[in-house]
Amino acid sequence: MTQLLAVALSHGAALLLYPGLVTLVPIGIALEAIWSSVSPGSQVLPKFRLRRPQIVHVAVALLAMLAMVQAGTPFNPVPPAERSVIIAVAALGFTAWAELALDPELVATPGLLFVVQACWVLAVLGPAIEPQSLRPQVLGNVLVPSLIPVKVASGFLYLLCLPPLLRLWPLAPPADRRAHPRFNTTRALVWLPYCALFVTLFFPPQTDDLEGLARFAGLVIATAMITMLAGGLLSRRGAERARGLYSRVVPPYSVLVLALVIGTLIINH
Amino acid sequence: MEPELTVALPAAGWACAAALRPRPRLALAAGAVFGVGGIVALLLSGPGITSYDLGLPLSVSPVGRALLVVAALALAFIVILAPARAERSTMLAWGLAALAGMAAMAVAPELDIAVMVLLGLVLLQAAALGRRPYASRIRGPLLAIALLGLGLVFARMTGPAALQRLAAVGLVAGLVAAIGALPFVHEFDAEEMTATSPVPWLTFIGPVLAIVVVARGRELMPSAVDVMGALLIAVGLLNMVYGATAAWRVDGGAAAWRYLFMADWGLALCGLGLGVADGLRAALLILFSMLLVRLPLYLWSRQALRENVQNDRPVNLLVAAALAGSAPFAGFPARILLLKGATAMYWPLALVIGPLLLLWIPAGLRLGRTLGTPTGRQLLGVGIALAAGVALGVYPQPLLTLAGL
C-alpha cells in the first residue's frame, strides 16, 4: 500500500509539477507570447488575473498533462517503461475535440483539422509498427538503417502537421469575429506537449542530467521555432494557400509515408 | 398384440362414426373408443413383430409406427379442439378412415397391397361430397397409383438397368403425385371442406405413404437406390424453392398454406433422398411437425381466412416463428439435421440447401397473420401446438427413439 502511494505520488507530481502542469504552463505561455508577437495580426500578451479557469482550459490542461508525462523529458518521474506513445497521441488528439465541444470558436474547419490529425497520427505511430514497441524512447532510439527513411519521412510529416494542430494557420473559425483578439490559452497549453513528443520520438533519448535537459529544451525550442516559422509563412501566403496545402499536398504525402511504412514492413519480413 | 388390430379398430371406428352420423355424440364416442383402441393396439404391437393370422406376414416398422402414433395424436388434438364450425364426428370419421388406411399401408407386406389400399382411400374420398368435379378429384391420386404401379412393374421386370431407373421414376413420381406436391399439384379449392380437399394427402396420409414407398422402393430396386435418392432430392429442391416462394407471394391465404406444406415436403423429400440416418431424422421431424403443429394451425386459420381477419399479436409472431423454421421450434433442428446429412453426403448440396432455408421466413410471417385473433379453445389449441413445436424442436429424442432412430 505504501509503495502504491509512493508511486501514485510520483505520478501525481509528474502530472502536476514536472513535466506536467507547472512546467508546461509557463513554457507554453512564453511560446504563445512569442508567437503572438511575431505572428501578423494579433500582438496579444496574456493578462494574468486570478479567477476560476474556464472548463475548456481545464479539459485541455488535463489532457496536455497526461500527454506530457509520456514524453522523454529528462528527470521525468514516470519510469520510461511506464510511458506509452498511444496515451500521448490519444490525449493530444482529444485536446482539439475538447475545444470543439466546449468552445467551438477555437476550431476552424474541423474536417480539415481531422485530416491533418490523421496524418499526424501516421507520423507518430507509423514508425512504431515495425519495432512493435510503443515506448517513446525506444522509437526515438531506433537507428536501424532500414527504418531511417520511415523515421525521417514521418518526422517531416509531423512538422508539417504542427501548424494546423496548434492553429497557427490563417484559417479563422467562422464564429471568431472579435474586434480584439484574445490570448490563446488553450494553444499555450499544448505547445510543449506537441514539441516534446516530437523531440522524444525523432531524436535519441536524452540522459537524466543537466546537459540532457539542456539539449532536450533546446530541441523543443528549435521545434517550436520551426513551427512558428512555418506558421508565419502560412499566414503570409494566405488562407486559401494553406487550405490547398493541407487538403491537396499533405494527404498525398501521408499516403507516400504510409507506402514507405508498408514497404519497410514487406522488406523486413 | 397383432398389427391387424391397428387397422381393424380404426376402420371399425370409422364405420361406427359414419353409420351413427345422425347422432353425433354417439358417433363421436364410438369412434373415439375404437380409435383409442387402435392406438393402444399400435403401441402394444412391438415394431418388427410379424403376425401371420391372416395368412400374410403383417408387421409395422418402427418409423411407420411412430408416424401412425403421431398422426393419431394429431387427429385427437384436432377433434378435441376442433374449429368452431367443424362437425367433430365427421372429422373423426374421416380421420379414422385415413388412419385405418395408413395403418394398412404401414403393415402391408407388399407395396402392391399398400398401393391398392391407397386406391381405396382415393375412391373413398372421391365418393364424398366435394366442391370440385369428381373426375378432377380422383385424377391426381389415380395418376399417382398408376405411376406407382408402373414403377412396381418395371422394378420386377428383368432387363437393362434403365428399367430400374424408370421404376425409380415411377415410384418417386407416384409418391409426389399422391401427396400432391410439385410438379403434380392437385387442383385446390380454398372453400372446399378439408377432408375432401387435397390437404389430407399433403398433411395427413402423405407422411406414412412416403415412408412406405421409400422404404419398400429401396428393397425393390437395390441397384437404383442412388437414382431414387437423386430424384427425391431434385423434386425436394423444386418444392422448397417454388413452395416457399409461392407461399409468400401467391394470392389467397389458404393457397399460401398449401404451398407452405409443399415447401415442407421439399425438405422431407430431400431428407429421404439423402439416404443417411440424419436425413431420415430430418424428414421425420418435418413430418412430425407437419402433423402436430402445421395441420392444426391450418385448420384453425381457415375461419380467419374466410373472414379475412389478419393480426400481428404476439401469438401471431410466435406462429410465424414456428412456420418459418426458427429455433426453438421443430423446423430448426430438422434443418440442422438436413445440413448435416447433406454435408456428410456431398457438401455442395448443403451450400444449395442452406440459402433456400431462408425462403420460409417471409412465408411464415405472412401465414402467422392469417391465424387472426385466436381466442378461447382456439387460443388454447394454438398454445398447445406451439408447445408441441417447441418440444419437438428442443428435445425430439423420444419420438425419434420411438421411430428406432
Binding site: - | R131, A135, A146, V153, R156
Partner: protein
Amino acid sequence: MTIAAAAAAALGGAILLLSDGRRALALGVGLLGAGLSGLAVDAGHIVGAVALLAGAIVAAVLRLRSGPAGWAVMPAGSTPRLILTIVTSLIALWIAVSVTSGDGTGLRFAVTALLVMLTVRLMLGAEAAAANTAASGIALTLGAGALLANGGAPDAACIVAAAVAAGMPALPRRETHGA
C-alpha cells in the same frame, strides 16, 4: 392361351379407353379381368386368378346398374384415343418382348399396356362411371402386376385388388358442389 389372355386383357383396356356407355364399360372391365385371370392361371396362381375374375365380374355387373346408358363405343372425337390405344399397345409389346426378358411376357405386356391406357383414360377426363371403371381396371392390373414378383404374397395382392375393384362401382357418386 397366354397370347389370347394378354390380347383379351388389352382389348378390355382398349374398350375402357374408347367407350363411354355402361354396357361397353362393363364389357371392358369384364374382358380385362378375364384376360388377367387367364394370365394368372398361366403364371400358376389359381387363387389369384379366381380372385381377379370374381372382382372383374362383380365390377362389371355393378357397372351395368349405373352410368350412361348404351354402348357409346368410339363416340365422336375419339380418334386420339384410338391412336393412343394402338401406340400404347405397340410400345407395351416392344417392352414386353424386346426390352425385357424372362417368363411372363404376356403378363408384362398386359400390365404395362393396361396401366398406361387406363391412366390416359383418366387423364383425358372421364365421366364418373368411366373413371370408376378405369379405377377398377387399374386395381385389377395392379393385382396382376404383383404376379410378376418372385415370392411375396401375389395371391393376397390379387384378392385385395379384386375387393377394391369390386367395391369401386358401388361407391356413391356425388357431383354436387356442397360443403
